[in-house]
Symmetry: C2
Subunit: 317 residues, 2 copies
């Protein structure tokens, strides 16, 4: 049987999916070997492929790396201690007759969620990942939007407090990420709970967005205010994207989006209030693949290019 | 000689360009016939074409209309008192062997400025028109971005004051248009000149952005503050677009952009301060075709589709 490996390399774990053309056969996860020599990690990947290939015929490998990738070359990836590595060339030498796709991990996740997940291959989709930070990706006319230097989709750095906002890791301030990431929501909560009577106080140090939403749902007033504020902030960011893109669908992924309808409905209501009139009905949906989006996207990219099915998705390599 | 007419229909004037494949031969402008019967305006257009065709062979007509256009059908155009008109079909019946393109006028201007003007056919370009309102258009991978319903590119309604801003004609508030259009800049000036000693006072009723910039350049303190604020507001809007699109170039058109380097340099400086680090060098340039962008764009669309040169540009018809 012809198989494709979809691989998502993270700083802690490598997720590996084994796919045939019709879909996934197997998936598993291993601890990432982080070493000064990039070859150690490549050896780990090739030996994982060997040990799971069995009698199948390897026809494609798609791999997402946590760093910028241009034409199959990883420009650097801090989490795995890589400097510049021409990963596509290296893998093509090891696997001469196998279709290789190397891509940025966030791009892989966007493609995965668009192609196999909530996006259902709609021509224009926006994915916003609300985790420790806020990332995302945008599909325009069935293609991942890359922009001039592959820097498109920096959704987390849309300015929602353009005049005086929280400092951001990007060196600037007022960025969406500082208000709608898991850490941003916790920060809003810490700011608002001072001198107030709230159940959030007992979670002070380990406060996160899930706790905030849970306590709000149980009726805590401060937690509800934090939830409403955070939903409003996120809606502003989505409005600014939709006013420019007019997408078929907006998909929210990452930990924060797992809160379910309690938070999501508030985001939708605010969006309806704030969006340009012709855009108010844009669906805002939860992601469905979550942590598996990367392996599905890495696979999808190989599948699309190798079998020429579905839309095109060139992500710079 | 084979010729194409590029026509830009406005509420006051119709601009007409006569082009051969290599470029413009002639251009002129006539007063628009605005009547309850849409046929009057169509008759005006066809008789203008007849009287300027001479011995040339008509091979294409591109026409921009001030209203939404889907598949060659004008859905309505208030300024010329049109309701729904299937203009492409009507013109195709009159000119059976001529390539017809009907498009929205703002889309025509975007294509014109991108193809023949400052955009120089770069794959990813953003055009922002700063006039009475703020409009724009976006080119992604050599195509005009339309979005799901043709509503993409509503740049004027990006929210730069998301929490408490000026009311906007769109029914919402805090939109870029209210701060960076010619009228928005005048409004900022009127707000700031109260109880201050400023040369702007003598222009109170007829105040516009040009007067503000001119007085600022002459050293008026309030006018300079208004100029700096307006440049900052515009930079915020451009940052929010660039963080998501990573375009090759941002082009500023419309009356406000004609102010020259005095205002534009301030916009550029603010952009450099506020943009995501990898985007700081995005060129921000003045439009070059201005009022002629529409006729050039209408022509470009015919040229691209008829002669299949350059990029593709489908704008929904």
């Amino acid at each position: 049987m012809k198989v494709i490996f979809g691989i998502d390399v993270g700083g802690t774990n490598i997720k590996i999916g084994k796919f045939q053309e019709e879909g996934i056969i197997d998936k598993y996860s291993v601890k990432t070997i982080v070493s000064q020599d990039y070859k150690d990690l490549i050896n780990q990947i090739t030996s994982e492929i060997s040990s799971h290939l069995g009698d199948d015929e390897l026809v494609g490998i798609g791999i997402g790396i946590p760093g910028p990738v241009v034409n199959g070359v990883v420009l650097g990836a801090q989490n795995i201690k890589w400097e510049k590595v021409n990963l596509k060339e290296i893998l093509s030498t090891i696997y001469p007759n196998v279709w290789i796709e190397v891509m940025n991990d966030a791009n892989a996740a966007t493609i995965g969620e668009w192609y196999f997940g909530t996006g259902t291959q709609k021509p224009n989709a926006v994915l916003i990942t609300l985790g420790t930070g806020v990332g995302g990706g945008i599909i325009v006319n069935n293609k991942l939007l890359e922009g001039k230097d592959g820097s498109a989709g920096e959704i987390g750095h849309i300015k929602i407090f353009p005049f005086k906002g929280r400092d951001c890791s990007c060196g600037l301030y007022g960025c969406l990420e500082q208000y709608t990431s898991a850490t941003g929501i916790a920060r809003t909560a810490r700011g608002m709970m001072r001198k107030r009577n709230t159940s959030l106080k007992k979670y002070y140090r380990r406060l996160n967005s899930k706790i905030v939403f849970d306590e709000a749902e149980k009726g805590d007033e401060v937690a509800l205010e934090v939830t409403l504020k955070s939903a409003y902030y996120l809606a502003i960011g989505i409005v600014n994207i939709c006013n420019v893109f007019n997408p078929d669908v907006v998909i929210l992924g990452g930990g924060v989006s797992k809160a379910g309808p309690f938070f999501l409905d508030k985001v939708r209501n605010n969006f309806k209030d704030l969006a340009f009139f012709s855009l108010k009905d844009t669906p805002i949906l939860s992601a469905s693949l979550f942590n598996d989006a990367g392996i599905y996207g890495a696979y999808a990219k190989v599948k699309m290019n190798l079998f020429k099915t579905g839309g095109e998705c060139n992500n710079g390599d």
